[in-house]
């Protein structure tokens, strides 16, 4: 029997206890890189969540459509064929292009939808990307700097919020003229404060965390701290916001287009389609319903995915999520 006083000096961690903690990736919420990097595991988790997966697939396929095949349908969307005016959907009599019906000028609804997808996503994507990057960057700088920089820029955000989007849009589009670019600028401007405020608030609290202090004590510059310490933690929040915003921006763009402030023909997005179809709601419901449906589905997909993104971004929650979805997959046996 070993001498009772012969306790190990504790300089080397006992293997058995280490593995007791290691064996379970859910403890503390992260998981080891044996099963692959953080990103791949998250992807595998997504693959096992049907609802979120569907949402993601829907959005991805829309993007694919927007980027690849949409240009091919431009002719279909603009060619007027009075023979098929107000053609009802769900019949292949006049070719598969008209399977979703046709509008008052005989233009294929399917074609317009696809082209509209591209426009909607370009706008929404553009707005979200521009406002998210610029907004969160400003927000982080403000939050970290504090003082008058923070105060003044945040007041600027307040001003933007105070202005009604519509009024802003009116002003800008009147001056600059309606086009996709201008629409993107206007909407991006109006969405800026949301990211600014979120990023600023989060940065303000993160700034006080000990690991920031530790980075400073190592000699890290403010720029380095913002980029390496603060941004990775602000990113999931911003991403979640962006997903939710995506839906909102599509709706906002549609709204503006619906009011006639947005795009003019031949530029067409889902909003203009809904607007055009409004007058014919009783005779040609498909002109409004299909684009409306597309808007709603995309908004829903954005919301569903947003929740997943948020959960994955939080180190505490992601571990639990992984454990729930993949009970056996990653883990080494606990009892060694």
């Amino acid at each position: 029997m070993k001498n009772l006083h012969d306790l190990t000096p504790g300089l080397v961690v006992d293997d058995s206890t280490a593995s007791g903690l290691l064996g379970d990736p859910t403890l503390g919420g992260s998981f080891d890189t044996k099963s692959g990097t953080l990103k791949w595991v998250r992807l595998r988790v997504l693959l096992k969540m049907p609802v979120q997966l569907t949402a993601a697939l829907w959005l991805v396929s829309l993007v694919v459509v927007a980027l690849t095949i949409a240009p091919l349908f431009e002719t279909a969307a603009n060619v007027q064929n009075l023979e098929v005016r107000f053609l009802a959907p769900f019949s292949l009599d006049h070719g598969w292009l008209n399977v979703l019906g046709a509008d008052g000028l005989g233009r294929s609804e399917l074609g317009q939808l696809i082209v509209g997808t591209r426009t909607s996503f370009l706008i929404a994507g553009g707005v979200v990307v521009v406002s998210a990057t610029i907004g969160s960057a400003i927000g982080m700088l403000c939050g970290y700097a504090g003082g008058w920089v923070d105060a003044s820029l945040m007041r600027l955000a307040d001003v933007i919020v105070a202005l009604p989007t519509l009024l802003l849009a009116l002003a800008v589009l009147f001056v600059l003229g309606t086009s996709i670019i201008n629409l993107v600028i206007v909407l991006a401007l109006s969405r800026l404060p949301v990211y600014m405020r979120t990023a600023e608030a989060q940065t303000r609290s993160l700034r006080e965390r000990t690991f920031v202090e530790a980075s400073r004590s190592l000699g890290a510059s403010s720029r380095r701290i913002i980029v390496k310490d603060i941004a990775p933690l602000v990113l999931p929040t911003v991403l979640t916001l962006a997903m939710l915003e995506l839906a909102g921006v599509i709706l906002a763009a549609a709204g503006l287009s619906f009011l006639g402030l947005g795009l003019q023909r031949p530029d067409v997005d889902w909003g203009t389609l809904v607007a055009d179809g409004r007058s014919y709601l009783t005779v040609a419901w498909w002109l409004t319903v299909f684009p409306g449906f597309a808007i709603a589905l995309t908004a829903l997909a954005g919301n569903l995915l947003a929740n997943w993104v948020r959960a994955m971004g939080d180190p505490n929650q992601s571990g639990r999520l992984v454990a729930k979805i993949m009970p056996k997959g990653n883990r080494e046996p606990v009892d060694k």
Binding site: M1, K2, N3, L4, H5, D6, L7, T8, P9, G10, V12, V13, D14, S16, T17, A18, G20, L21, D24, T26, L27, R320, A323, K324, V334, D335
Partner: protein
Amino acid sequence: MSLIEEEEAAQPDLTESPEVLLRVENLSVDFQSERGHIYAVRSLNFTLRAGEVLAVLGESGSGKSVTSRALMGLVPSPPGRVTGSIVFEGHEIAGADERHLENFRGKGIAMVFQDSLDSLNPVYTVGSQLTEILRVRAKSSSKAAQAEAVRLMSEVGIPNGAERLHDYPHQFSGGMRQRICIAMGIALKPRLLIADEPTTALDVTVQAGILRLLAGLRKSARMAMIFVTHDISVAQLIADRVMVMYAGQVVEEGPVGDLVAASAHPYTRALLMSQPGLVDNWRKLKPIGGSPPENVRKLHGCPFAPRCPIAQPECIASDPPYVTVGQQRSRCFFAEDVHSGPR
């Protein structure tokens, strides 16, 4: 006044063998979570007599806090599950429903928590929180409750009690707030006060004051206490008996003096030997290798075996029995050897 002088002033009248206030048998608390089954407390057995102070000593993951919550019926029932028997003054309270438990909470058993700022509602004055207890539970009139609240404030050592009743919790220092929490705890004159690490977050000088207060209350109010702590010195100061917990189990139990002078469990010994207060040079510190387990899942064998310097194969294969050695109970195959080993 030092602690010793205080005790000279008032010896408790415990000439007759005090009756058993609390009897806990086979108390187990486990949690079903997405992380699997966690056994926070396993087969706890102990008794507490009237006026006795029991310290529950343990580190993180030992189950000491869960135990204190289980005694009050505060373990959320899914995901937690409390089995076993808790008999307080003859009544079974384990698994009792809320209505039944209300008869005991506050009046029979009261609790003081670690975080006094969190325990008090920040939007109500201290006075209203104190009097609320008296008005609702003791059915006092407003006037009587007010008077009693003032008396309680002075009993726990807060000067200008009458005026300070109108203050809000954030206007008090940490130590004062904890005293207020203690006042709320003793307001209904419970027979048992459970204190879960009440001084851990406080400064050393403030801690000494709180400990004196509790010791005094125990005498004047004939109140038993269960004092949860991780600090063995605090246990030595306040307790009659100590129950050492590790990974949800009691590994040793006995009178505090005997347990510290000649412990019968390797964990207790190791804990004592890693205290800086007991050596004169850091080189003589003898740390325990490894870490205390956080979420216990295994069910067989001694939980301390992975870190134990005298562990043998049987320690991992089977559960050690409880062995009575001297005045203590220890859960170790080698309890006697440990007990008689060199100090």
